[in-house]
Symmetry: D3
Subunit: 326 residues, 6 copies
């Protein structure tokens, strides 16, 4: 029985090695990434059963993605397979100050963009589960993806699951108007909202302090919990991380992490995983502690996947120093 | 002034290293390939000016392709640039007996598939040129690509150029019926047809000896020259190569090449380049000699591009042995 | 429910790239291999559920192995995890004539060598399964591994499973006397024996034609099926493959495969997988056809794992040629 | 018609990967670099036509260099090709504090060191051009290179071009006395001098503030513009960048860039390119803005070449932040 | 004649490239490392003859280690070779804040752990030597290694050598109680103790300022010299280094080094080498200067080995700046 | 005491990976090679002490070469070090039929080309040695190298050593006339000549069967032994090897080796090493057996160096098969 179910797209990620620009490279590192898969993996690695629902083309590229999910213990039995369409790709250029990192998406007409609401038997998928998670990327992929996302959220509510949603606004997929309109329909069914002040500002025009934004969101949509991640961008290769959550009261990170950034992609999804895991097993305080530790740790390794064990999460929380461990 | 103009698509080619299967790789070698670009490059390297006409998305991936053409001295000033669409990709798996090599195309909705007949000023492009070359892949890309190919051929004839055409049937792009119908419209304007017995058989159902097929093609469409390449597939990693051409009389290879195959992609395009170069500078006999030498040599190096000098072509023709050269 | 259960050791395989000798390399390719895991993976990839039972140290190296099994869909829930001992390693040097390939094992004191008969609940493992497979390597690992292997075979018989056994004699693990003594105890419970004439000769001193050996084995131990693989070693980089099986009658390969060898490790295990899958789904003839195709195909890719789909198995059997496939 | 013509040596650059010392490496990354080629490339990438004049040995190494220039759109038709001599090499060790980066040159007897004044038809080369650029490295290569440089400068003046000169003193090529004597002959014909306080101090013994040095240079040699780049060396992997220029008045950078340094080689040449491009298209203010942005950006990628588009230059100038761009 | 003799284990070090976690890597960089070998190498590179005594398995892995020692000029003629046992391995994960670097040792049952006191003819080994060095790792490997270490120290004293000892406590090899008991027997024969406050605290429970610890150690065991290295851990990728030594008086570093850390392993051993070399050739002040410079420099390159020349040591001491050197 | 002394140049060898052409590569594999060093290494690896005499520039590139010799146990104490000149390089392109492998030398003005007869104290070098070996490459490097070679040969004779000489004609270094004139002076002092019929034909115009050539050489110059290697070039990637020697009688290979060629460079030098080792330890028959086995084995691994043990030589001679060894 899976406790957490996530739904979204995962792509092959193609990265030029050694801080090369995409235009200059002659080889690409191949990994797998996608917001909701990243979270499902990080949750699974902590020992909580998770499933990832998506639609994939049944060719070697599609199998690479499913293999990666399966490798990490994520249930892939609900993936919809098709011989049509294609696997989404994204190219990631790693930068260094003053050159920021860049993503070029090549995900149009991917299999999941053609997903239809009736292709997934959500009732079956949600059997025994506690929480359903998706993000603002999934409905942005296509009209039928929007419909399928809405259907999934409704089905989750119907099945008594908590619904978690990461706003994740992607400007290359749709306009802020389109996003706002869609989110406005989905958010009333959402229990846990995870977001950043930047996304909230772009989509809803909210301004103010983090607390104010959290309150405004909670008040507007009636969330059970609003979690806001606070990424400090010191430079392209250095950063800081903390978060806060508003529920019955305001919760804040007890420590702030400093990061030497090897690869920041997937860090938000790692926070989501840690927050949900912590919340489901104990409560919001643990959610923040796990989410922060996991997000900060993610920055230290290449790829979207958080290769971390729960022992390592605990060590981070209890303040592991920077000395070599033998 | 370019002497040869070619028209078609080039893609990023992504190849798993070391005979890995695509599904198992964690990195991909990035090169550039496309039938008509490959030929333009091989011609340019022999010192004959060539241009390649195509349509590319103006992002780093599109620039990689144009850079490669330019690097090899090919005139890229007639490429149509767009901010829309995408760059075509193809994944190549190198095999070893009993596993044949495989290509997975991901070229749908590429920039050139959206090309429109009026986007290229063919009269301008053909100024001073002697020969226009394209292949059966270009019209197969989309309806507007079919129209543009036809327009290009007509314009070439109008400008007094020789028209060369490689039949290159691609089953993943269209049916044999579609191909036959299209080719039947184009071929009457073609002077030089390059093909294989396999493609002729699939598209036109021709059977018989190579000579018979050549005669049938020449009689049906009124070609000036029909060149047929004879690839002997000994195993995945070993092959033989020769060719014949029918014009005023039948010309045959004076030697047959044996190949230890490192990468066979682009070999046919190298034959085309050598044949056209030889024919334009001297005649059919030289065309066959250059075409064979260049095609055989192509098998010995990775990538679609034939990295060869004319001195090396001559050395092959005069029978260079297999000893190390210091 | 798993249909096939295998039991044995898997190791990290460390291979110098590009035909380097181990002594000269500065990097090692990391893959995972082990006879019974290799077979479980190849079976799982064909869509038949399989489980692999083993004992692993719970550190990153142990997780690499379990991840690989899981990635390929193999059930890893019966693995025994420990904080003690170590993960076995093997170093593989790829040769070229006249230098044969070499393996250096570094597997002493690995976790599975410390396995105890009572650490696996075989009754639970075998629920719903049809066949149990192990090889002569597993009991050779240690005394307690011998005991556990015997217990597993007994439990499999008790649960009504077919028992399959690959003789796989490893001279670095024990003497032929030790092997013979152990096998003599185990083989009476075995239904399907897979072996080579070389192993049979070394362990039991059998000589004669393949058929004679098969008959002698069948008569002595009362096997339901004896399958003998016939590997022709043409050179280090070229080989041939066929097989035969003796059951109610003698079955022989309908075709012989020629191979250009990229990596021959795991080919025998791929035969085993194909043979068992074919036999379980249809019968011995299909077993031989699948076993041969899968073993031959394995030679064409690096690593122990057979990255193959059932469509590809069928294409091999129906005689796919060596031409590139687009 | 080329607007800018540069003249100088380019070499193969051989770099040990991953901060290895040269003595410990077993592979070398191959790129192309040379001060005047670097500038010609960066100018060409902004859409301004440029040519690079040099002398190369016609072997694969020489072709690598010409290919790279051509790939970037630089006119290579004025390169002098020879079968004699060799291609210059330089080995670059990337350091990390407290180990500074090191260059070992192996450029003696390179083709360009044998260049003769009459080998280039400068009148032809300069047709339609606006500016000629070279650096203090070119005359330092040999006596005949000194003569050819002087001839080029004279021809440029005669043809009505602006002459730009980067002092670039190289202690491994000649003494400060030799350099001063040579520069003293060349500089009176120079319109735009680009330099650093360090080089000015070593060659001319000038001391004082940057402004004082600029004034002294301008007064002594009658330059139209003196541009001085101000590199702040924070550590081996961190730096800051700004510049100033003295012409009709003193111009200063409006912002200072901070850099996380991936590879600092070619940054000065990128400044030159940006400064000249900005100056030629608008004026000194734009020259400084472009030069600074391009130099700072260069630090963020491996190799001598600045892989940058004009859109990216503009984004830097308008203050792009360090966040990932999707 | 060797001036310095060291004794200990060296292992193959297997490192995932590019900050990957061990669990995610598919290749491992192979280098050689071991505290006493590292020091012997760094001493040899300065021109002082050194020998390294150890026990190795005579297979390719063992030869890799001996080759590396020999490559660096270290006398390997006293190594004890065996066909038994195995070569120790260690896996190193390079971290980035907040993930510290990690070592997984796989060194149990290595050849040297089976060394016997009578396998080395210490009298022969020490002929003409001035100093014997080992560390707290060697006796920790096994009981017979403890005995052999003690025998070596006794033999060194008997032969009139100085004895140098780096405390190097390794918690994965033995408990602090075991270490303390063993060290208490060995230290009275030691002339030069090299340690950190962390190790002293863990083994002997000493607390206080560095000077107090140095005094306590000197007073308790009667050392001639106590050298304490002061590593400042700013972050995983940044650090500071200085040291002090107590002998007739207290000596302190004249400068503190800042490091951008590429690889910190072997830095302590480099200090040891520099300190001993400086002390033996001139005195403690030079020892500190060389030790600090060498340790700081070590951080800037991958691998355990310090690839440095004496000219470079001197340049560091005299304050080489961070600018590129051409 | 070294038993064998060799004298000649070693270079850095720079090889594009994966059968790439030099012009297309972006990285080069770095190894070390040089005929006489290759032989000294192969002899040392068999346990016979050898020294290599040369002249090297004292920079990281020179140290790479000396490190490699030292790594393999070769005595490097007689190398002449200089701060002048440069390290010779050679670029090796690995071919595949019909493209032969190619070498581009960049060795002009290397340190050894400036060697002077009085820079080596040959009397000291030859103390206790049995045999001196050099090749026709060494005198070809420069006039002073010719003089030094002659002086070395005279000194060897004077010291009572056997003199061995590999004719090794290099057309890029000198004309056949120059070579013949030089060899005619040197050969009368040579005891053991190693050569091929091709070199003999090019330099001396000898024709006829191998036996006839051997007799003609022996009669003309009075050699004690003439050894001729017979390399069969089947294709670029396949070959055969045997040899013969004429002394008191004619000796021929007892077996002929077939090779799958990974890298054929250094194979002749490996024959030399095996022949000299066999001859010095037992006689000509063993010389041929060792020489053939070692040369054939060399083809199976990358680089000039023969990574082989004497056990492996013996296994080859006794007919090791092509099966994997575990």
């Amino acid at each position: 029985m899976n406790q957490v179910v996530t739904f979204g797209e995962a792509m092959l990620r193609l990265t030029p090695p050694n801080y090369q620009r995409l235009e200059q490279t002659v080889s690409l590192d191949v990994t797998v990434g996608g917001s909701e898969l990243n979270s499902a993996i990080a949750i699974s690695r902590l020992g909580m059963k998770s499933a990832w629902v998506s639609k994939l083309t049944s060719n070697p590229l599609g199998r690479i993605i499913a293999n990666k999910a399966r490798e990490q213990g994520v249930d892939t039995s609900h993936i919809v397979w098709t011989k049509e369409h294609r696997i989404g790709l994204y190219f990631l250029e790693q930068g260094a100050t003053p050159r920021s990192s860049r993503v070029i998406y090549d995900r149009k007409n991917s299999a999941i963009s053609a997903i239809q609401p009736n292709e997934v038997n959500w009732a079956e998928v949600f059997k025994g589960a506690k929480l359903f998670h998706t993000s603002g990327i999934t409905p942005a992929l296509s009209k039928s993806a929007t419909e399928t996302t809405k259907a999934a959220v409704k089905a989750a509510k119907a099945a008594g699951l908590l619904v978690s949603f990461d706003m994740n606004y992607r400007a290359t997929l749709w306009s802020t108007d389109e996003a706002r309109q869609c989110f406005t329909e989905i958010l009333p069914d959402v229990d846990i909202l995870l977001t950043t002040d930047e996304d909230t500002n772009r989509v809803f025009g909210y301004e103010g302090s983090y607390e104010e934004i959290a309150h405004k969101l909670k008040d507007t949509f009636g969330f059970k919990i609003v979690a806001i991640t606070l990424r400090q961008v010191i430079s392209v290769l250095r950063g800081g991380w903390s978060s806060l959550a508003l529920a019955d009261k305001l919760y804040k990170s007890k420590k702030r992490y400093e990061m030497e950034i090897i690869d920041r992609v997937g860090a938000g999804d790692s926070f989501t995983a840690g927050f949900l895991f912590g919340y489901l097993t104990e409560g919001i305080e643990k959610g923040i502690a796990y989410g922060d530790a996991m997000s900060a740790f993610k920055h230290s390794m290449p790829g979207d996947v958080l290769w971390m064990t729960e022992d390592e999460v605990k060590a981070q929380i209890s303040g592991e120093d920077a000395k070599i461990k033998r």
